[in-house]
């Protein structure tokens, strides 16, 4: 039964159609060349005006053209089938990754709630459990935000609410919000931030970008590996580097990781959580801020540096929040 199903696989059918088409084309040319003379002689007996004396290339080419159209049709069907199959595969991977991503923090929350229900828990432990659960709810809400945001990034759909943001303060605030995660991963964070830089940003969207980048660093680095966040002012851009000592990236993956649902496939990372959305969303948000995001890594095991470059622009009224749509 499986063999029969494999026989009807679209790729097999596509190859079959190609072979059939080549054979048909060869037969057609061969038949026409062999028989055109006889055909002409036969026709001349009845309608001599229909045929010229010389070999009629037009009919041969018409036949070839018709067959080419059939081939193009089959090719188009195959291309679209292939795209659909890829989308189905990505969607299925996505559902599987997301369900895992949702279940892990949920399992943790349920475990702590039931612990408090069924066990006698001291005040210190209770406070610790509540903090842990809050971190899990943040993780859940981060994932839900990512899923919702990923559906918005179609051309022309993103609306940013920009305001002047004091960058040093903002990055410190983001890092402070992830303090517990840093502690759990025993990660030393070094902040090297140039003071006095203010940019026009959608603060909520940019927080999502920084959170995604920092969480990725924590996921893909061994426990105890440090993280450096460095911000410097360039000519046109403010560049923020996230430098980690994690598992790094091979050259071939460095561009692909920003694609929607893409996840690096290798034994080291196959069991690391993730939905393949964080970097895609980050890239879209940065692009909508007219900025750039890139990654540099010397290869597997050598860490990586994610750089976010945001345009410096001109602040009309620094200090007073203004709402403006950037597209």
């Amino acid at each position: 039964m499986n063999k029969l199903r494999a026989l009807f696989h679209p790729i097999i059918i596509f190859v079959g159609v190609q072979i059939a088409w080549i054979i048909l084309m060869a037969v057609w040319i061969n038949w026409y060349i062999k028989n055109s003379r006889k055909f002409q002689e036969f026709a001349q007996k009845f309608r001599p005006d229909l045929f010229a004396d010389e070999f009629n290339w037009l009919i041969l080419l018409e036949g070839c053209f018709l067959m080419l159209i059939i081939l193009a049709g089959v090719y188009m069907i195959f291309v679209y089938w292939n795209k659909q199959a890829n989308l189905n595969r990505l969607q299925s991977n996505f559902v599987s990754s997301v369900s895992h991503e949702l279940k892990s923090p949920l399992a943790s929350i349920q475990l702590y709630l039931e612990t408090m229900k069924y066990q006698e828990v001291s005040k210190t432990d209770r406070e610790d459990f509540v903090e842990t659960m809050l971190t899990d709810t943040e993780r859940l809400s981060g994932l839900i935000e990512n899923i919702l945001a990923s559906s918005k990034f179609e051309p022309g759909r993103m609306q940013l609410q920009v305001q002047p943001v004091e960058m040093e303060e903002f990055i410190r605030e983001v890092a402070e919000g992830l303090k517990r995660q840093f502690e759990e991963r025993k990660c030393q964070v070094n902040l090297e931030l140039e003071p006095g830089l203010a940019l026009l940003l959608d603060k909520r969207a940019m927080r999502m970008v920084f959170n995604n980048l920092i969480r990725n660093t924590l996921r893909y680095s061994p426990i105890g590996a440090p993280l450096t966040i460095r911000m410097r002012k360039g000519k046109k851009y403010c560049e923020i580097d996230f430098i980690d000592q994690g598992i790094g990236l091979e050259k071939k993956d460095q561009k692909k990781i920003f694609k929607k649902f893409y996840r690096v496939q290798n034994p080291d990372t196959q069991n690391i959580e993730g939905a393949g959305l964080g970097l895609f969303i980050s890239k879209e948000i940065i692009r909508n801020h007219k900025g750039q995001i890139r990654v540099a890594s010397e290869g597997r095991g050598k860490g990586s540096t994610f750089t976010v470059a945001l345009p410096l622009g001109k602040l009309k009224n620094p200090g007073s929040p203004s709402e403006q749509g950037v597209r």
Partner: protein, 236 residues
């Protein structure tokens, strides 16, 4: 009961690992946590444990790989798999590599603790030697319950963990009837998804290994409407 039993929790989610450790320690177990598959195997090499609670999605080496490695050297060591994957196929894959039980996340704490207790109880029972020695002989056949190795009609082979458990129970009560319910309780721990028919399938498999004529068994006998009985010295 349950005092000083050693449990290895293999879980990369630090929150879950911490919560599991807290609860299991409250139940009187000694708990060690490993954050990835390789660390788990290191721990198992260095120390003795009574149970491993194993997450499926682990960095470096996945739970399935870890379970396979454990089974390479120990046929019966208790493994409770914990995973966010909850489909029938995931569960079957977990049990196929030799997990004793499979619990999908999110799980209920009392259920987890009951399953841990059940597995440890079965492990205690399994560890009791048959006739003061690990190898039990009947006719020209034998079973080593320590390694799971056996000699049947077709030569030497390895029993799976559950096959070994069924044989052990039948042999421990040789000459007496073992009901299907007892087999279910001791071997499968009354997993709600196990049917009594599963026991019959296992018996059919074991007869193929040890009986010359599986249709007319002489060692593993059926006692109508009751269960099964092991006869070490058949009259034939």
């Amino acid at each position: 009961m349950g005092q000083s039993k050693k449990i290895l929790v293999v879980e990369d989610e630090t929150h879950l690992a911490k919560g599991l450790k807290f609860n299991l320690e409250r139940e009187g177990y000694e708990v060690t946590v490993a954050g990835d598959g390789e660390a788990a195997l290191e721990q198992l090499k260095d120390r003795e444990f009574d149970l491993v609670i194993l997450d499926l999605m682990l960095p470096k080496m996945g739970g399935i790989e870890v379970a396979k490695k454990i089974r390479e050297t120990n046929i019966r060591f208790p493994i409770l798999m914990l995973s966010a994957k909850s489909t029938e196929q995931d569960r079957a894959a977990g049990l196929a590599v030799g997990a004793d039980d499979y619990l999908a996340k999110p799980f209920h704490l009392p259920e987890l603790l009951l399953r841990v207790k059940g597995i440890l109880r079965r492990w205690e029972w399994y560890k009791q030697p048959v006739q003061d020695q690990e190898t039990f002989r009947f006719g020209d056949k034998w079973i080593n319950f320590g390694t799971g190795k056996a000699k049947g009609c077709a030569g030497e082979f390895y029993l799976t963990a559950k096959e070994a458990l069924v044989m052990k129970l039948l042999i421990q009560k040789k000459g007496n009837v073992v009901t299907r319910e007892e087999l279910l309780e001791k071997v499968w721990g009354y997993d709600p998804e196990t049917e009594t028919r599963t026991v019959d399938n296992f018996i059919a498999r074991l007869r193929k290994y040890f009986e010359k004529k599986p249709q007319k068994p002489s060692y593993i006998l059926t006692v109508r409407e009751k269960g099964y009985q092991f006869e070490p010295e058949p009259s034939e």
